[in-house]
Amino acid sequence: MMVVAAAAGFAFAANQLSPRGLNLARDYFPGPASHPAPSHKAPPLAETDRRIKEKGLQPIDRAQAERLFHDPRCQQGLVMFVDARGEAPYAQAHIPGAYPLDRYHPEKDLAADLTPCQNADLVVVYCAGGDCEEAEYTALLLRDAGVPAQKLFVYGGGFDDWSAGHLPLEQGERNSGLAPVKNK
């Protein structure tokens, strides 16, 4: 019992002190339960779109995402992309100009991302795609933070689909202009 008590104290303290620690009280998966498919294969896009709609969000596909990326409003910040994959994958490569938003640690980016999101006409949120639900939950986070739901779109195919289409990518910080090494 002493070991268990000491281990519990150590564990809760470690989680509290770790910058990557979890907020125990937060519901990281709000809304209807949608358990990831028990398969290695990514679900078909129709299935992903159904899941996105179930959460009250609007799905878009690669062609639509690409059109929005080339829309002149994108340069003016009126169409913006939000990358929900987390710090490390974002640094490796992301859709050029996309804002990073780690929903597990929103205190890092949310304050900086919120005003541009509210000022934009359209906000496209993406994660890795397929089984990945981070884009949906990030869109819900933005909606709960005050971004009107009708502005929010989820790119279900996500980053994997975007890079499979050999579309532009950027490495490092937002607007760094650096192309990822593998794309050179």
Binding site: V3, A11, L22, H35
Partner: protein, 162 residues
């Protein structure tokens, strides 16, 4: 001298420190993996398991490496390993049915801190770890232990007597 038992204690300790750190330093990934098991629905419980279980492992692993409260640490680790092995097995059966493949061909990231693994190898490994933990629980691995038992009344608590 029983070097085999000491080596077993160090092996078990080092393994749990390593796998615990792998998960504890990336709790978000571990949270997503724990969620896949669908064993708890309450966010607080789910978060608590994902946030604390890896550090439990690290703590008990360090106790085993140092030789402090060895039986208590071994019992705690067995208490983690046995139910965890059961849920891994259960998840593998679900995956086997979904993919229509032989049981031993099932490969997935079980949240064990070692990435994707084949299920049969994982179950054998866990069975070995459980046996090691039970062996230590039976009173082995006293050599080079800083404080084998926390109870002062236990004459074997001194390393010089072990």
């Amino acid at each position: 001298m029983d070097f085999g038992s000491v080596a077993a204690r160090w092996l078990l300790g080092a393994l749990f420190v390593y796998t615990g750190l792998e998960k504890g330093l990336d709790p978000v990934s571990f949270l997503k993996l724990v969620r896949q098991y669908d064993i708890v629905q309450t966010p607080f419980l789910l978060n608590s398991i994902a946030a604390t279980l890896p550090w439990f492992e690290v703590f008990c692993g360090m106790l085993l490496l140092a030789g402090i409260a060895v039986r208590g640490a071994a019992l705690t680790l067995a208490g983690i390993l046995i139910p965890f092995t059961a849920v891994v097995w259960h998840r593998a059966l679900i995956l086997q049915a979904a993919r229509a493949i032989p049981f031993c061909a099932v490969k997935f990231d079980c949240g064990c801190g070692t990435g994707e693994v084949f299920i049969c190898g994982k179950l054998l490994e866990n069975a070995g770890l459980i046996l090691l933990a039970l062996w230590l629980l039976a009173g082995r691995g006293r050599q080079f232990a800083l404080r084998y038992s926390l109870s002062n009344s236990n004459p074997s608590s001194s390393p010089s007597q072990s």
